[in-house]
Amino acid sequence: MHMADALLSPAVGGTMWAASAGLLAYSSSRLKTTLDDNRVPLMGVLAAFVFAAQMINFSIPGTGSSGHLGGGLILAVLLGPHAAFLSIASVLAVQALFFADGGLLALGCNIFNLGFFPCFLCYPFIFKPLAGEAPSRGRLMTASVIAAVVGLQMGAFGVVLETVASGISELPFNSFVLLMQPIHLAIGLVEGVVTAALLVFLHKARPELFGAAQQNAKTRSLRPVIVGLALAAMVVGGGLSWFAAGDPDGLEWSMAKVSGKEELEAPEHGIHSTLGSLQKSFAFLPDYNFKEPEATATDSGKPEAQQTESWPNVSAGTSISGLLGGFMTLCLAGLVALLLRRRAPSKA
């Protein structure tokens, strides 16, 4: 599911844009140095394929509903993480421009949610170890399903974090997670099954193509991926937790709303509110959060709580805990990958 502009605050959108732009720059610089140049048209044409494939539905037996390919994982398998990340970004950009899927500000979030997780986490750390060097049909199936499910769970969680951090929607964190994750479990299963089906088909029709892809994959060093991962985890952990950890519980948040007063309700302080919104309007960029909170309070002459109400609280404490959490997540992911890698050969 795409994150939408309307649910996003510019601060969160900007942070995610920065994260995605960094990853895009990194990926394309990596490609420039390693690219055997036949990838250039391959990336573009495969992106067009994914774009078209996303609009073809198949009926899911027994449910009366229909599903389709998402494409992130299959691109990662066919192109490798860096090229795949660029391809997904371009698909999302076209969707944002032509179908307003998500929107321009939310594009950063969407590239991160739908590109980073499948390409840089699920493919190298879940799909590759599980599928192994010479994948059998069964292993392709398991690897794709697990990788796709995990990828979409992460993506959905990203949407939740971004939405909650933006504070435009009132949906409490807990309930939103409970809504989004199960839906995306189903979507992930479909995605995994379709990806696997396609890979099996391709494997049968063009074994030679597969061998080459695997070889490419083998020679690719994991270090940059891990570096990228660490960077991303820091961005997510550090950046987002400023917004998220400040109000961990949406319910509490809305309770605060009840007690707090809003400008609309108090039209009598005309000039003050004008000054206040003047202050605010120059603060829509992320760096707002680095401004001294005191300054805001004194300038507008209103209690700080009111001024920053729709804005996340920044405190060194939450940032540090966010970084710590991000670091722990990264360790956990590494551990899981290690375990999977150990187990993969014994499965064959």
Partner: protein
């Protein structure tokens, strides 16, 4: 969205963008920058702001009118983008029940305000994005982004994607038609059929990519796309466009014009209540 209608929608926007109006002729960088500034300033409004959002409609409206983009198209598309936003926003009225003011007997809660605000934001963001594409064209937007610092690899990517989208989508459509022709009912393919449909399409896609690459090599491609010459310059018209809209956006962002209008009697009549007692 089905492939059929998706392709049609893209072609339609593509058609509109090949018109020739003064707005179309502006350097794409100006339009892209103003659009981004627009989105940031509009979306940075507080979540209970409804009236303050209204003046922001001026930008997409004027862009559409000057660029001869049918408004109905923009609104129809904007409506299509609403479901997810409503799905997430619909909880606001249920959760945030703090009464902000009364309109007659009706109590307006914060949730209602923020829900209305979300819907309005979505409509504005979507119409603006689409208007931008319709008066600029995909290719020009990509180039503008390239000239503003987007990596070349990504730029080339986007152009390839756009080019082959039409070829592949047409191929896929013909395959779907061929399938439907041999089916008694017009239903979605089963997973098995889907696999082989997409699989065949993927095989052909891979072949095509190989041929395209060969064609590029035959014309001297050495891994570097030749520098695409800028076709437009950032002249006085562009500066004027940026300045006017920049000032306008700052103004409507700072001053809640509708509210000030509403409060006009209040300013005139001193502290005697207001529109919303």
């Amino acid at each position: 969205m089905g492939l059929d209608s998706a392709l049609h929608e893209i072609r339609h926007l593509d058609d509109l963008s090949s018109k020739d109006t003064p707005t179309h002729r502006l350097d794409a960088r100006a339009k892209v920058l103003v659009t981004l500034f627009y989105l940031v300033s509009m979306l940075s409004l507080g979540r209970y702001e409804v009236s303050a959002l209204l003046p922001f409609a001026a930008f997409p409206l004027l862009l559409a009118v000057q660029g001869e983009v049918p408004l109905a198209l923009l609104l129809r598309r904007a409506a299509l983008a609403l479901p997810f936003v409503i799905f997430v926003g619909i909880f606001n009225p249920l959760i945030d029940r703090a009464v902000h003011f009364h309109v007659g007997p009706l109590a307006i809660t914060g949730g209602m305000l923020s829900f209305a605000s979300i819907v309005l934001r979505s409509l504005l963001a979507v119409t603006t994005g689409l208007a931008l594409v319709a008066v600029t064209g995909f290719d020009q937007i990509c180039r503008a982004l390239g000239r503003l610092g987007m990596p070349t690899t990504l730029l080339v990517q986007l152009q390839f994607l756009y080019r082959y989208l039409f070829v592949l989508a047409d191929e896929a459509l013909r395959m779907l038609h061929a399938r439907v022709q041999r089916c008694a009912k017009n239903n979605h393919p089963t997973l098995r059929e889907y696999r082989t449909l997409l699989g065949s399409l993927l095989l052909r896609t891979l072949d095509r990519a190989g041929r395209v690459h060969q064609a590029m090599l035959c014309r001297g491609f050495d891994g570097q796309m030749p520098d695409l010459r800028p076709t437009t310059t950032f002249g006085p018209a562009e500066w004027r466009f940026c300045a006017i809209w920049g000032l306008f956006l700052i103004a409507v962002r700072i001053l809640n014009i509708p509210q000030h209008l509403g409060n006009l009697p209040l300013y005139l009549g001193g502290k005697a209540g207001g529109l919303f007692p």
